[in-house]
């Protein structure tokens, strides 16, 4: 006759502990796997904008980033940006330079495209439209979320590359051409892939799409 064995108190505690550990491990795994878990995805259609013509929507792996452009501050810079956005030139272009909690940079149309990315030359590519002059004279507060055109060490070399600062950068005023500011979705940019040891990212995240709200 088989005797029914009753679990001791300590066995019950161990069992509960194992169950808790399993739940914790599974939860942690899901959290680590999904980097976008707590990032809110903004739907621009549901937001009212004062100047909808100046709104650009950048779609990245963790959702939408909504940028208000400032043509009154940098007319030529914004014009160039809009030209490239309307031609869908930024789609599938890498965030090739990312510094954690500091900035994300993208827009190398020559060497940063997903289908023919060139890690040796990325960051040096051109758009084919030529360079434009820097617009750095107007006062501009480079607060967190500011969007500006990148350039070489020299002024008047802006082309297609742009960056977004993830912290206040007061020294960038009069240094870089500001074109706008992120008004929603900055958290999605903070999740863009970065490397610990280098500003330049191997197997980077890409811009999914970049569109004007009103085409």
């Amino acid at each position: 006759m088989i005797q029914k064995i009753k679990a001791s108190k300590s066995e019950k505690i161990i069992f509960i502990f194992i169950i808790c550990l399993a739940i914790f491990s599974l939860g942690s795994f899901l959290l680590i796997k999904d980097k976008c878990l707590f990032v809110k995805d903004y739907n621009p259609e549901k937001i009212k904008f004062e100047k909808p013509n100046n709104i650009a929507v950048l779609n990245v792996p963790c959702g939408n980033v909504i940028i208000e452009l400032y043509p009154e501050i940098s007319p030529n810079g914004v014009k160039r940006f809009i030209t490239l956005v309307k031609s869908k030139a930024y789609d599938d272009v890498a965030f090739h330079r990312v510094i954690k909690d500091t900035l994300v940079q993208a827009g190398d149309l020559e060497f940063g495209k997903k289908e023919n990315i060139d890690y040796g030359k990325i960051g040096t590519g051109k758009s084919g439209l030529g360079t434009i002059n820097s617009e750095v004279d107007a006062p501009f507060n480079f607060k967190k979320g500011s969007v500006a055109l990148a350039r070489t060490q020299k002024y008047n070399t802006e082309d297609s590359q742009f960056f977004i600062v993830l912290r206040d950068e007061p020294l960038y005023e009069t240094e870089y051409t500001p074109i706008g500011k992120v008004i929603y979705g900055l958290k999605a940019l903070e999740k863009i892939k970065y490397l610990d040891k280098s500003q330049y990212v191997l197997r980077p995240d890409y811009i999914s799409t970049l569109r004007m709200l009103i085409d």
């Binding site: 954690k100 500091t102 950068e169 020294l171 280098s198």
Partner: protein
Amino acid sequence: MNLIRLILLSLFIFTHVQANTIYNLIKIPNLEIYEINKSNKLRYLYAKQPFTIGVDNNINCYNSEKKVLNEKFKIIQKNLDRYNQKFLKKINLKYIVLCEDLSISKINTAGIPDHIMKTLIIDIKFDERYFERVIHHEVFHIINDSYKEIFDEKIWSNFNVKNFKYAECSTCTDKIGLDTYRETDGFITEYSRSTASEDMAEVFSHLMIGLSLNNSDPILEKKIQFIKNNLLKIDENFIL
């Protein structure tokens, strides 16, 4: 002890790439912002720790005590406030680095201008007798480097007497005295005799400081007019 080592090692391994904005902009490490809210948009930075830069790390400068920094900043700011934002943009000067015991290839120097990086490094402990003057002297080097074609050294050299020759470089001579001559003979200081560029910088700095110069010296008079006329070519509103 081992635990401390382990912690230090892990810090080294897991430290993220540092986002030093100042270094990215002007390629000088160990600097911090001192003052950036000036109307002429000059950015004053100071050495938080000693730094070494340049070819073969030949430029060195050290951090200063806060008290010294505060005192000297007032003097530097007063002098540099005379240049407006428009003019500074034209000559490509934006960052002023404050540090002490500045040297290049182990030779002490008052300042190191770099118009490419828009930077002027100033030794805040340079001889107080000449301190204000050398600020303008170094600014002139920025002006000169940005407008080499205007400040033509051949034209300048022709102002001097026929048999006079400058040295090959400012550090290849022992003519380094900075006292202003009472009786000039085409040169304001001994250092003026070193190179054409230093000569121009000496004339300019004396004009900026407002020291009365010998009107009866025809060579010096030509040099003064040369500087004044060329500055007006850069900025028609420039006031000496």
